[in-house]
């Protein structure tokens, strides 16, 4: 069973009086536990595709079926629930809540779920353990390095034990040492928890970790290859 099915997907953006086609007849399937990525030049539609899979956006034509739900048919409430429970996001710019400390940032999405305080605490501490940040739980984001921020973001996306994590250029603001560190962390979580990871990236370092690389160009799938890991 594929966890993500993309069928004849087209995405048009209104530009001036006409349209700009950012994704053009994309067909892709992803199984549970894949560690895959979209690569391709800037403007090729990587982010747009991730956003649709994350139900932050909807297709203009075709369908994107995520966990058996067609994202264009979800209400705002249903898509919020889908994201809250099953989809984790990791952004290039970390997007941590600046007024919350590390612990609270990670805890946030669990507050939207019904969960006892002790359960929640356990989950947060475990997520922070995965990323090796248990000693910084009281720090505010502005006291952390970029690598640490991204690790918090990973913990935040993982704390709810999602089915899918969508990572848009997660290493773009990190040096190579930190990039490898967070990629190893994500790979480990992928293997241990069987979480599906989808990346959008330009970064060679990221590509080395991917099991499958989908190349986009001008909104079309140029190639879709299994990647032999050279680690």
């Amino acid at each position: 069973m594929d966890i993500i099915k993309i069928e004849n997907l087209v995405k048009n953006f209104p530009v001036g009086k006409g349209f700009f086609t950012a994704l053009n007849d994309v067909n892709l399937n992803f199984g549970k536990g894949e560690f895959a990525g979209f690569v391709g030049p800037s403007g090729s539609g990587k982010t747009t595709l991730l956003n649709i899979i994350g139900s932050l956006d909807t297709p203009s034509e075709g369908r994107a079926i995520v966990m058996d739900k067609s994202v264009s048919e979800l209400t705002h409430k249903q898509s919020a629930k889908l994201r809250n429970e099953h989809i984790g996001f990791i952004f290039q710019t970390y997007n941590l809540l600046p007024v919350y400390n590390v612990y609270e940032n990670v805890e946030f999405s669990l507050l939207l779920q019904k969960m006892s305080g002790s359960e929640r605490k356990k989950a947060v501490m475990q997520a922070l353990e995965w990323v090796g940040l248990t000693d910084k739980i009281k720090s505010k984001p502005n006291m952390l390095s970029g690598g640490e921020c991204q690790r918090v973001a990973i913990a935040r996306s993982m704390v709810k034990k999602p089915q899918i994590v969508l990572a848009d250029e997660p290493t773009a603001n990190l040096d190579s040492k930190n990039s490898h560190h967070i990629l190893q962390t994500m790979k480990k979580l992928n293997e241990e928890l069987n979480v599906t990871f989808l990346f959008a990236t330009h970064d060679e370092k990221v590509m080395k970790y991917l099991n499958r690389i989908v190349t986009l160009e001008d909104g079309k799938v140029l190639s879709d290859k299994q990647n032999n890991l050279k680690l």
């Binding site: 956003n51 994350g54 932050l56 956006d57 705002h76 409430k77 919020a80 629930k81 994201r83 809250n84 429970e85 996001f89 952004f91 710019t93 997007n95 809540l97 600046p98 007024v99 919350y100 946030f108 999405s109 507050l111 939207l112 935040r156």
Partner: protein, 387 residues
């Protein structure tokens, strides 16, 4: 709950700007409470004084009596029946006979109301008992305003002319036995008080009165040709005065409140513009757009809670202090009932109503800009590229 915690952290995180808004709003808050408390205090004192010095707990008027029509006064008097006398003896009613008179203090002419009052009455605070201690039969007491206007002192004689029951003019010198001070101009300006029995004799109206002042124990409201006027009626003018003062002050309070609300509105607009990425992140984390609207609304509205707390910090000591020492108004003689010192009165009701108004208004002006979030596309918000 999450929204409140976030609001609290975001507001404190915003630092100076928050405190600026909160400070202005707290001024508005404190001013509203202060001013209304002042008027409420004035209202309470004014009513109490009017009751004590002029109206009692209500009055029975002779059916012809109309204080605004001087021509009725000559005809509005009636003998005191047994029922009335019984109440008078019980101390529940006090008769006053009223007639128009002209006084000639120091050779000048002044219209006055000559009032015959029972020297033994206890219902009004007027110093009628002083009339028991005088040698001179034709003794009067007057208020300080009247004394000043007529340049009369204790011991002075003043020529007074009046008409008796047949309309015949009569005149005689009356000696000022006492001068009293009170905060109720209507009980003072142009009033000359003499003993009831003396005035009855002067007018040839044995055992008659124009009005009967009652105390709180008086209950029989329908007697003979007397019409009962309750406090609502007797205090109506004063009530209207306070209401008009309240109305007038609303403009000032409203302006200050609007200023504070504009500052919050502005902050909201700016903060929603600057924090698009955060908004997108909330949505990515699984909040609905309206929940995000809620977060921002609560955050803006929470200014009012902080303002109430800040206002309480300086307002409560200020109010307690003012409640103790009062606010001095000197002796402004504007013909309205106002004490020299007003003790503002802060009721729980006033505080709660003001709080509700401020919280409600702050929430509304926070909600209006936040509504925009519901129309944002989350992908655009995440890019932070909205205008």
């Amino acid at each position: 709950m999450i929204a409140l915690k976030l609001a609290y952290k975001n507001l404190l995180g915003a630092g100076l700007r928050t405190w600026l808004n909160v400070t202005i709003l707290s001024f508005a808050f404190v001013l509203i409470i202060f001013y209304n408390g002042l008027l409420d205090g004035w209202n309470r004192q004014g009513k109490r004084d009017t009751i004590n010095w002029q109206t009692g707990q209500g009055q029975l008027w002779h059916s012809e009596y109309d204080p605004f029509d001087p021509y009725t006064i000559a005809d509005s008097h009636a003998p005191l029946s047994d029922i009335v006398l019984k109440e008078i003896h019980a101390g529940n009613l006090s008769p006053i006979l009223i007639t128009q008179a002209t006084a000639y203090p120091n050779g000048r002419v002044q219209n006055a109301l000559l009032k015959g009052i029972d020297p033994n009455q206890k219902i009004l605070q007027l110093p009628s008992a002083d009339l028991n201690n005088v040698q001179e039969k034709y003794s009067a007491f007057i208020g300080s305003r009247m004394a000043e206007a007529a340049k009369l002192n204790v011991g002075d004689w003043v020529l007074v002319r009046w008409r008796d029951k047949n309309g015949t003019f009569d005149a005689r010198e009356i000696q000022i036995a006492a001068i009293f001070k009170c905060d109720v101009p209507a009980a003072d300006n142009g009033q000359i008080y003499i003993s009831l029995s003396v005035l009855q004799e002067m007018m040839g109206l044995e055992n008659e009165a124009s009005i009967l002042v009652s105390n709180e124990n008086f209950s029989q409201k329908n007697i003979d040709q007397w019409v009962f006027k309750d406090l609502d009626f007797l205090l109506e003018d004063f009530e209207k005065l306070i209401a008009s003062k309240k109305g007038g002050s609303m403009i000032m309070q409203g302006l200050l409140l609007i200023l504070a609300l504009l500052a919050i509105f502005d902050t909201q607009v700016l903060s929603i513009f600057r924090r698009q990425k955060e908004i997108g992140t909330y949505i990515a984390l699984g909040l609905t757009r309206w929940q995000v609207v809620g977060i921002f609304t609560v955050e803006g509205g929470a200014h009012s809670i902080l303002a109430a707390l800040l206002g309480a910090v300086y307002g409560i000591p200020l109010f307690i202090w003012l409640g103790k020492v009062g606010i001095s108004f000197g002796t402004p003689d504007m013909g309205i009932t106002i004490a020299e010192t007003i003790y503002p009165y802060y009721s729980v009701r006033l505080v709660i109503i003001s709080l509700l108004i401020v919280v409600f208004a702050a929430t509304v002006v926070s909600f209006l800009p936040a509504r925009k979030i519901a129309k944002m596309k989350p992908t655009d918000a995440l890019k932070g590229k909205l205008q």
